[in-house]
Symmetry: none
Subunit: 192 residues, 4 copies
Amino acid sequence: MKTRIVKQPDERKSEIIKTAGRLFLQKGVHNTKISEIVETIGVAKGLFYYYFKSKDDVISAVIEHFISELDVVLSNILSSDINYYKKISKFIDTYVQIRRMFNKNSCNNNDNDNFSYILLKKSNNLILSYLKLLISTGISKGLLRLRYPDETVTMLVYGLNELMDSSQKKIGRAVMLALVEQSLSLPCGILA
Amino acid sequence: MKTRIVKQPDERKSEIIKTAGRLFLQKGVHNTKISEIVETIGVAKGLFYYYFKSKDDVISAVIEHFISELDVVLSNILSSDINYYKKISKFIDTYVQIRRMFNKNSCNNNDNDNFSYILLKKSNNLILSYLKLLISTGISKGLLRLRYPDETVTMLVYGLNELMDSSQKKIGRAVMLALVEQSLSLPCGILA
Amino acid sequence: MKTRIVKQPDERKSEIIKTAGRLFLQKGVHNTKISEIVETIGVAKGLFYYYFKSKDDVISAVIEHFISELDVVLSNILSSDINYYKKISKFIDTYVQIRRMFNKNSCNNNDNDNFSYILLKKSNNLILSYLKLLISTGISKGLLRLRYPDETVTMLVYGLNELMDSSQKKIGRAVMLALVEQSLSLPCGILA
Amino acid sequence: MKTRIVKQPDERKSEIIKTAGRLFLQKGVHNTKISEIVETIGVAKGLFYYYFKSKDDVISAVIEHFISELDVVLSNILSSDINYYKKISKFIDTYVQIRRMFNKNSCNNNDNDNFSYILLKKSNNLILSYLKLLISTGISKGLLRLRYPDETVTMLVYGLNELMDSSQKKIGRAVMLALVEQSLSLPCGILA
DNA sequence: TATGAATGAGATTTCATTCAT
DNA sequence: AATGAATGAAATCTCATTCAT
């Protein structure tokens, strides 16, 4: 029998969520067995089912965990004391970061999971809602003008998303911001 | 003993691919069992393995099948005898069609497959390559001007993709084309 | 639902090995299904795969098990406190015993396994290595003389092996020992 | 549809037996699928079952084929017009040949067939019966003397068998014949 | 005599989940 | 709060054999 290490419930649960999340991103949900999660942590299988009802249960928890962390970051940017355009470029930077994190891993995984897909989509939607808010504020303040603001922002976010995926050459920050300016009909160089 | 119905290999193989494809879209790859595919057709399980090495093998075949069908459609548009702007809007229309087809189904599927995801991505990339070609031809003919043509088209395609997914209200054809015009810096109404 | 009987891993693993070994000898490896092994013990099929990676895995384990048991017996004879010629005849007796055990069973089995064959060969080789040691010791002590000691012992062991297989009439112990004496150029009757 | 090559029944049947035999020795019976046999020849599966009732049926035929070929060779030696001792050494030489043929192949095959085993055994028994005959003739003619002629010859054949298998260094013809002489209590060098 | 698509029983294997300890 | 042996349903895959052509 292994030496039993007792932890606070919250700490243990969080440990499982983080470990599962890492493995899910690395190898895909379908290729991550419960046994692997518990072996990685070094606990018994039964403990997993003490904290989670099922595998699906931990998947949801992992997604929720990632999204709520992102929410904190974005919320801080929005309420921070920097100028309007800076906020836009900060959003874009944050976006690039999480994209890279989610995608670096999901490339390897050739299995048929849509875990990263859901995660990405939820992240995109979150950042999208923040951006929509920011843009509509900008419009009412007269900082920019757009015929279809919501649609334009949607296309911007998901367009960038794909651009990061597919381009052979890594897209530089400058080009990226230029594309944002173009999409939002902003003066050239204002986000730089 | 079942009465044995013999078919030409090509016909049978194609029958399996189409049946599998339909089920994959309806219920996801993971939720579609080999036994279901063969039961749907009404043949023995062994026959499946006579034509395909494994489940993965048929997945690849299904994807290839969908993509090659799309390729024919797009290729016909490109070589057809209609004017330049008409071709663009035809591409967009085709795009909308397949998107609807892939997505109508993938909504139901709550499993963890990314079959539709891969399919969508490959379709997007195919249409993207056709559009890039068309746009660069247009640029060299002086029909339009863009600073980052490839990046712009990429963002356009994937932006639209998401727009169709997410907007509560269905995006009308008019708005869609307007967004395309805006993205490509084309005169308002020219694609209508 | 079955009542679950929990055992120590070592005990369970050993239980599986012994049961599998018995069935393998009785019916041949190919004719022994995993399902039979677990049904015989009265556990679930999954438990088998909890302890063994595959059917091949348990086959190896069974062979190893038989051989290591034989090794203990032979090793005890070698180090025991009896006279030199007695050791030889004890080796022969042990040999006869295991031969009978392996062959009694393998007669029934008309399938195409060579499980008993491998087992027999490994046993033969083990006893052979012990005998070679004993003989060479005897030679250096001047207890016997042989031109080709290793070859002679090899032929002796495998010759006896076959003799036990094939002769219609069961070979008596006396004849057997006489043949050993003849092979090793020992005085007639010294092993009796 | 393939071009259909029609052959005489005997020729076809023999073609299947020879091909099957080659594959059985190369890869083992269990690893040789009916499909492989017919593909190697270039005919359809159905044809196999036109000539053979089952896989077991062809296995028997293959064994019979090998054995009857050996029988011809041995029979020729026995009735040939050479001296007594020469016949013995010719038998041994033939024996070495077929052993090499059966074993060179069966080494590779790590599967659980006893095809080579059966084949070897039947060959050994055939040569054994010829040798017993020869030896007993020799005894009645006063050419040699043995206490247990049959047992001795049995041990000789099977002992040599193993010797060829196991010895790291290939056993030379001279040593081999020396061992035969020793076993049969023949004067040293008479077989050389 | 020959074809090869089709059959189907059954084997091995996987793994999320349970529960006696 | 923790263990890990045990469960069992279900999935994938194999291949000797059959039979419509």
